[in-house]
Symmetry: C2
Subunit: 285 residues, 2 copies
């Protein structure tokens, strides 16, 4: 048996098109054009690529590309001032501070400077608190993208056992909360988990965000399980995930490929968050 493929690339395209329609409808109703301010400090090559992609997709969705760049030598006060400027600018619907920042900067303090209403990455303490309390707010893009994949493929969640491997603030934790809010029974596994294989085998839905290449093998997956691979790592023969895909595909019911699974959905949800931030800031009927 070979697992069905959860096609994140196709779904991300669909979400982007939905956002583009939403932008057009919002403008037609008298709303402003949503604007995304990507902030890039320094010249990390990977960050350059990520930011370029985000800007391109933002423009394709009909939103304003309000990119801002600072040199690697920028002081904390300079970045702070830029964020404050963007926070005050009504043309800016969302602020994305590309991480990692140069080591001399205090990244958590800068992230906290982003107002929750423009926190399209969902990384501030307020956004985390709103999620934890089940209140409306902007959710982190990667776990939000996983939820969209599960929904697009009608994966049942209510009453199922969902196991999340990894407990990062960016992915694992918010993932667990989103799954729980859909009435899954959620277990969060991590590096100290004793019987990782046994716990994963009891999952109906398994989301792997451990950041360790191939950590989940076929022995950890019960037949028919839906497996979401959040990992992405460079390997000699291309990109691989946290899941040993060739082996797991033989037992899983559904599986996200790497690349082409969760990755494209992350950017799509950023666009979706930016539109949501714009419409919340300037509601129009």
């Amino acid at each position: 048996m070979t697992a069905g493929r959860l096609d994140g690339t196709a779904l991300a395209r669909q979400v982007s098109e939905e956002v583009a329609k939403g932008v057009a409808a919002f403008r037609a109703a008298g709303g402003t054009t949503p604007g995304l301010a990507t902030v890039l400090v320094g010249d990390d090559p990977a960050s350059e690529v990520y930011v370029r992609n985000k800007r391109r997709l933002c423009v394709e969705a009909g939103m304003l590309d309000l990119h801002r760049r600072l040199p690697a030598t920028a002081e904390q006060a300079e970045v702070t001032a830029l964020i404050d400027e963007l926070a005050a600018d009504p043309a800016v619907s969302g602020i994305l501070l590309q991480l990692p920042l140069p080591a001399h900067l205090d990244a958590p303090t800068l992230v906290e400077r982003i107002p929750a209403a423009k926190d399209v990455d969902g990384l501030t303490t307020t956004s985390a608190g709103l999620l934890a309390q089940g209140r409306p707010g902007l959710r982190p893009c990667t776990p939000a993208g996983v939820m969209r994949i599960l929904d697009a493929y009608d994966v049942p969640l209510e009453g199922t056992h969902a196991v999340v491997v990894g407990r990062s603030v960016l992915v694992g934790q918010p993932m667990a909360q989103l799954l729980q809010q859909r009435n899954a029974t959620v277990t969060v596994c991590h590096s100290r988990t004793r019987d990782l294989v046994g716990m994963c085998r009891s999952a109906d839905v398994l989301v792997v965000a451990a950041g360790k290449p191939g950590i989940i093998g076929a022995d950890a997956v019960a037949p028919g399980t839906t497996v979401i691979d959040v990992g992405i790592h460079r390997a000699p023969d291309g990109l691989i995930g946290d899941v040993d895909a060739p082996a797991v595909a033989e037992v899983a019911g559904l599986l996200t490929p790497v690349p082409g699974g969760v990755g494209p959905m992350t950017i799509a949800m950023l666009l979706s968050n930016t539109l949501a931030a714009a419409t919340a800031a300037h509601p129009r009927d």
Copy 2:
């Protein structure tokens, strides 16, 4: 076999004495006397009792009792103004808004009005976000009290499977996060969980905060499990918890009694949070 008793009453007394020593030490070092502002709106008899106990223990620990009371007819603006006044008052270390509020008031908005630094109940969105992100902050009293019980009795957590029954914002959710931050593998069960008994039986540590009398029976507890009963309900022959105590005591390794388990710890942690808020606000070496 009969489970060992996790004596919350004795431990709460010990914590209160520690707080009293901490208050004395803080004052001796030139700090101000910590002050707890309990806010009671209306005359709900149960709330009256709770607030009276909190005030009494606060005074016994050497802290200022800055109680404030408003009539049941108080308008939203009136309660808001009171919270703002207490927020601005340097004599007030912590603000406790006793819940539930009269139905005409918007309780969540009023809770949010409490600054995170004085949120000794740990209920605001900011406090929830700080906990979710594993940052320092004031934690909700009941789950914090459970952690103190587990630690006082040297219950190992790292690598164990901890199952939390109940996913409330007040108890279940923060409980899961606190256990996870101590490296337990945590599963949160709730009303939609399919195999509640099976999941609970796989726990090394079982925290029951379901709000349903006797929902956890002996069949849901593996021999030797540490069982924490957060529930408290009035029954014909006295107070009972969420756990069927007589039956579970035969299989559990350790068990909190009801009353005398988690309940007293909740108030003790409120005192502890008030001292922590005072020392954070006015640090003295």
